[in-house]
């Protein structure tokens, strides 16, 4: 079993900013599911759609009303592409809802290489702000998507927090990056993610299968950690 903790399916005003011409085809739910299944992925966390294989984390903008998200397990924000003040009222209402309903707050840093899709706020700044937030709000679970190995290494305090998880969708530098990541982030808080359909979903599966990590950690990353986090 494989659970993809960050993919994109259905309309989402932020993820549709990406410049990959293939996207339009696969934001369609049926095509997305077909693509995921061909990669061996059984369940995917996405923002714009929901069915037996898709777990919906609706995307919130700073203007969104978190009270309108309905019954979901998490919400997604893009603080590198939309300006979020982590000390502001909008974030306070997201955190309050997260505490009230046990929502996972997914922080998505990258859809594409910043040289292709420019970030309004650099990932590093967001991670520093998140570190303070995660320290204060220990009862909120944060899942970081799109960080790379060097950012994990530079923000080791953040990624050692028990309420912070990290996915591997953009862990692509340097050689043996997954093995290196596990030296700085506990394998129990590393999540499998593809960033599909912007990226090929099969590439993420392939690299986990062929990385020099233990079978125990492989299983944790591919599904156990996500299963536990999602309850």
């Amino acid at each position: 079993m494989i659970i993809d903790f960050c993919a994109h399916c259905g309309y989402d005003e932020v993820s549709s900013l990406s410049h990959n011409i293939m996207n339009e085809r696969f934001f369609d739910t049926a095509r997305f599911v077909e693509l995921a299944q061909a990669a061996g992925i059984e369940r995917s966390v996405v923002s714009g759609s929901e069915n037996e294989s898709l777990i919906r984390f609706p995307t919130l903008s700073p203007a969104s009303d978190v009270a309108e998200v309905g019954s979901v397990k998490g919400v997604r924000i893009f603080p590198t592409y939309q300006i979020w003040d982590f000390d502001g009222e909008e974030m306070a209402s997201v955190l309050a809802a997260a505490k009230r309903s046990g929502l996972i707050v997914q922080i998505c840093l990258r859809l594409q290489d910043p040289r292709v899709l420019v970030q309004k706020t650099p990932s590093g700044e967001v991670l520093k702000a998140l570190d303070k937030l995660a320290e204060v709000h220990k009862d909120v679970r944060f899942a970081v998507s799109g960080a790379n190995y060097y950012e994990a290494q530079a923000n080791s305090a953040l990624f050692s927090r028990q309420n912070v998880w990290m996915d591997i969708s953009h862990v692509q530098h340097p050689i043996n990056s997954l093995e290196k990541l596990l030296a700085v982030v506990d394998a129990g808080r590393v999540l499998f993610a593809t960033n599909s359909p912007i990226f090929y979903p099969k590439t993420a599966v392939y690299r986990v299968i062929h990385s020099a990590i233990s079978d125990l950690n492989r299983d944790r990353i591919l599904y156990q950690n996500a299963k536990q986090l999602l309850g």
Binding site: I175, Y200, K202, T203
Partner: protein, 256 residues
């Protein structure tokens, strides 16, 4: 999701970083993956505007690695067009010692006339020229070559094989720009594994002009291989991209 039977990495860098260089060599040996490599600075840093002496030292490091791993490591000579006639002599020195190609990075755009004598020296040896190209949204390197600069060079030297590295980052625009130049190849290295990228460049350029590359060890080689393994292409096309095209281009009939 098996390992490919044969693979050749056309775009590798000897970094002068002992740990990363050793990790790359271990990976390449484990995957039985011969490779083409250049060194952009032999002290662990990549030098965008190297001195001539730094280029010579970097190339000497590659020659040393070639001698240590014959029939497995194939060198590309790194020069800067800023060094004009000295750069040409360095190309001749390195190709004469068995290097297989020339690497140009970001010191001078490749449509600059200072590139022409280097291209002519490469042509003397029928050696391909590997040219870095990134189509960035925000310019940070004023002399970084874009696909249009590479097209200008390719049209001036239609018999010179040119490899446009990284599919120019924005692969759709990169492939569209060079599609009409049959002597321009692209490598898949050094960019994210975006869905449809391999299929698109094959469709626009033809499979014979697409080469697997990693840009390792700075990039995770496994992720770069995975992109080609994930692409929705025929197995015969995958073999061409993974190793046959590179071996043909470098004249490596006897390579593993």
């Amino acid at each position: 999701m098996k390992k490919p039977a044969s693979i050749f990495d056309i775009h590798v860098h000897l970094l002068g970083n002992a740990q990363l260089d050793a990790e790359f060599m271990a990976f390449a040996q484990n995957w039985d993956m011969p490779f083409a490599t250049s060194c952009l600075g032999s002290q662990g840093s990549m030098l965008a505007y190297p001195t001539f002496e730094q280029c010579v030292a970097a190339n000497d490091a590659v020659l040393e690695q070639m001698a240590q791993y014959p029939d497995f490591v194939y060198g590309f000579c790194y020069v800067s067009q800023q060094h004009e006639s000295s750069a040409v002599e360095e190309v001749r020195r390195c190709l004469g010692k068995g290097m297989r190609g020339v690497k140009l990075w970001v010191a001078v755009k490749v449509d600059d006339p200072r590139t022409f004598p280097i291209a002519e020296a490469a042509l003397e040896y029928n050696a391909p020229v590997l040219i870095h190209s990134y189509l960035r949204r925000e310019e940070i390197l004023p002399e970084e070559s874009k696909p249009d600069h590479i097209v200008a060079l390719a049209r001036r030297y239609p018999d010179l094989p040119i490899i446009m590295a990284h599919m120019a980052l924005r692969w759709q625009e990169g492939a569209d720009a060079v599609a009409e130049c049959p002597n321009i190849y692209v490598d898949t290295s050094g960019c994210d594994p975006e869905l449809g990228s391999v299929e698109y460049v094959i469709d626009r350029l033809g499979v014979d002009r697409v080469l697997y590359g990693s840009d390792g060890p700075g990039r995770d080689v496994l992720c770069q291989i995975a992109r080609v393994m994930a692409a929705d292409i025929s197995e015969s096309d995958r073999e061409k991209v993974l190793h046959l095209n590179a071996k043909r281009l470098l004249g490596l009939g006897g390579a593993k």
